[in-house]
């Protein structure tokens, strides 16, 4: 029981520690941490727009965080959320733009989502195949697949799909756009927050149910904990390794729906940069637990938007340092117990 309490306590201590560290850096830049702090809270939690922005960032991070957390349960370290998200964003944007305008949203939105999930899923499953068939370490293969994703989307964009003299694709048809929450609720006015956040919540809850309430989740966790024992128990671990990598890629791909169908409505260079990597941080902070991903993603979403919002007063890099320190503290905290 003691270790359980400790497990819950570590992330909070890490967040607090990193916050203190951030304050110290702000002091060193010659600013008053209290003033920056109040500006930070005003910009994020002080307005519907700010909250919407934070939740918008949170949504994508939930998806990319889950894309790391699920394979983690099978002892696979998916560094490829970045590439999976990127190909998915490109695929969603191109599909959305090519669908006939006569198609109603009820068909167009699922088709776009399928295109995103298929692209991300293929990217994830490729790493799974390389692992199962050829024994390639997934850390290496997902990093390589990130490079391929970047190069491939870059080439396809500039040579085939970019609107002339721009760096983005054509806008998608209105049928495959997701409604923003400001239109529906009247709150979060002007922010990019859209219905994707409900999708993110649903996927997180479903992931948790899958892991801890289904027999497949039980077998997956066994494979992740002790692969040898799992094979003695008649569990075919290859199947799980392959499936979980494909599923992770598809979930990262759903994150692209938030960015493309929910906000930009086209793909542009760099629109996904860094979000896949932040997903790794989210998953580590959450201890790879799908429900804890939600507050962890919220924390990182808060820092990412907060950093932009007070960028006029302190360098936003400070917030990147806080994120990194948080993760280092979490790892120190969990490693110490062994």
């Amino acid at each position: 029981m003691k270790t359980r309490i400790r497990h819950i306590f570590i992330p909070f201590a890490a967040v607090a520690g990193a916050g203190l560290f951030g304050m110290a850096i702000i002091l060193m830049t010659g600013r008053d941490p209290a003033e920056i702090g109040s500006r930070l809270f005003n910009a994020t939690l002080g307005s519907g727009y700010g909250m919407g922005q934070v939740l918008f960032k949170t949504t994508t991070l939930i998806f990319t965080g889950l894309a790391v957390a699920l394979p983690f349960r099978a002892r696979l370290f998916n560094i490829g959320g970045e590439g999976q998200l990127q190909v998915a964003a490109f695929s969603a944007a191109v599909t959305g733009a090519m669908l006939p305008s006569s198609l109603p949203p009820i068909a167009a939105v699922p088709l776009t989502a399928c295109a995103a999930m298929a692209a991300g899923g293929i990217w994830g499953a490729s790493a799974g195949v390389l692992k199962v068939r050829f024994g390639v370490n997934e850390v290496i293969s997902t990093i390589m697949l990130n490079f391929i994703a970047q190069a491939l989307t870059g080439y396809l964009l500039t040579s085939h799909f970019a609107v002339p003299s721009t760096e983005h694709t054509a806008e998608t048809g209105s049928a495959s756009m997701l409604p923003g929450l400001d239109e529906i609720t009247g709150f979060f006015r002007g922010s990019p927050l859209n219905v994707s956040i409900f999708g993110a919540l649903a996927v997180a809850i479903l992931s948790s149910l899958f892991l801890f309430r289904t027999s497949a989740g039980y077998e997956l966790r066994a494979v992740g904990s002790q692969p040898d024992a799992a094979s003695y128990a008649g569990i075919r671990s290859e199947r799980y390794l392959l499936t979980v990598m494909g599923a992770a890629g598809a979930i990262a791909g759903l994150g692209a729906m938030n960015l493309v169908a929910g906000y930009k409505h086209y793909y542009e260079t760099g629109m996904t940069a860094g979000i896949g990597f932040s997903g790794i941080a989210v998953a580590l902070l959450a201890g790879a637990h799908p429900i804890w991903i939600l507050p962890a993603a919220l924390f990182f979403g808060f820092l990412e938007y907060g950093g932009l919002a007070v960028g006029a007063y302190v360098p936003k890099e400070i917030f990147m340092i806080i994120q990194a320190i948080t993760i280092l503290l979490v790892i120190i905290g969990t490693a110490r117990k062994t």
Binding site: S215, Y218, A222, Q226, D228, S231, Y232
Partner: protein, 516 residues
Amino acid sequence: MSTMPEALVLSGVSKKFGAVEANRNVSLTVQKGSIHAIAGENGAGKSTLARLIYGLHRPDSGTIAVNGKTVSMNSPKDAIALGIGMVHQHFMLVPNFTVAENIILGIEEKALFASISVRKTAESIRILSERYGMPVDPEALTGSLSVGEEQRVEILKALYRKAEILILDEPTAVLTPQEIDRLFSVLRSLRDTGKTILIITHKLDEVISLADRVSVMRKGEVTGTVECRNTSKAELARMMVGRNVLLRVDNPVPAPLKPVLAVENLCCRTQKGAMKLDNLSFTIRAGEIFGIAGVEGNGQSELLSILCGLNDRKNRLSGTILLDGTTITGRTPAEITSLGVSHVPEDRLKHAVIRNFSVSENILFGRQREQRFRKGFGFNRTILDAYAKKLAGRYDIRFDDINIQSLASLSGGNQQKVVVARELDRPFLKLLILAQPTRGVDIGAIELIHRSIIETRDNGVAVLLITSELDELITLSTRIGCLYNGSLRKIFTEEEVAEGRTDEEAFEHEIGLHIT
């Protein structure tokens, strides 16, 4: 005896970990030049005591005196300086270093870039190893050594550091009978040159045949110290467990029925061409226990993995294996299991359980496909809970909370009871495969496991038993096959085994002749 000086005196030593009192008011006197055993069940506090003496823990209260002087040790470094050496249960060797490099590791020249005179050390190691009858090549890579040789390296490591008091933690757990004999003669010759040996074990036979005196521990306390000449196994067992223990379960004569498992001309050749199994043939009938004796590495692990469907695909197989007339070669583990085969693997922690899963999740492990535990996509928690509690009651598995407590926090005996309970209670069981079913398990639990194996046999299950404990093999088996170089050199019939039980020592020697 009493005129001998005291090498080690512990007075009123206590050590707590959180709320657990691992050692309570332990007082102990070890005479110089003697072999002193510390016996006790798993979790009785033996290892903690050893770690206190070796400076790995500090006592909360009480004193430790070495050679008449009270000492305070902060780390093993202090213990080594006092002439104390320890051979751990799990060896601490670097596999890609040579024997000599491993032995000088940590005491090489102090200057960072000083050259290490390996050749000179190798020579002195050779002299040391020959003096005590422990031949080992100082230039061999440690990774290429057998377990027995690795242990010798550990002992030499301690002697090279000028140890006068040598602590050995469960040194025989990983050894074959022959290796045990050799270890014991080494230990006796070390004693005869004046070294003091402290051996920690739960095997009473070994205590009686090796040690001069024995201190028995139970629940963190020393319940008594006796001269080994004046004691018996039964008395020691009573001191350890606190009640009378049946050391040998009743083994009524079985009435075997039709054959269940038929192995015919089974051959297994590795990719490199080594014959691991060579025309192996035997049958096991329903209601009998077929024991296989043999030194590790004579084909046991290959046979086990083939029977479980986990054979290395690179190995070339020939011959047939029929289970009730159905061939099982080439089938997956799940298919073989569904034919009514249960398996208690040799390495429990690695292969039989998931350490961080709860007790009830482990009772389900390997049986998660049985319909009665299923509900929708998941499991029926109510049925599973009731089942887990039923098994825990029947097999006396002790735990705090069946759904929360991780299996790793249970004692070795309780962990093994979880595995045995789960595998023996499989529905439609036809063949039970047991590999080292009581390794690292305390006596109380051994008795229970042996009883339930015999009960399973009497229910008409065919049992294959592979164990390095000859004692256990003779107690349980109906027939005994002697495995050597991948084939059975000799099969003792029911009558021969029954007769062998009347003079066990002679029988053990006879078996020994057929396996070496």
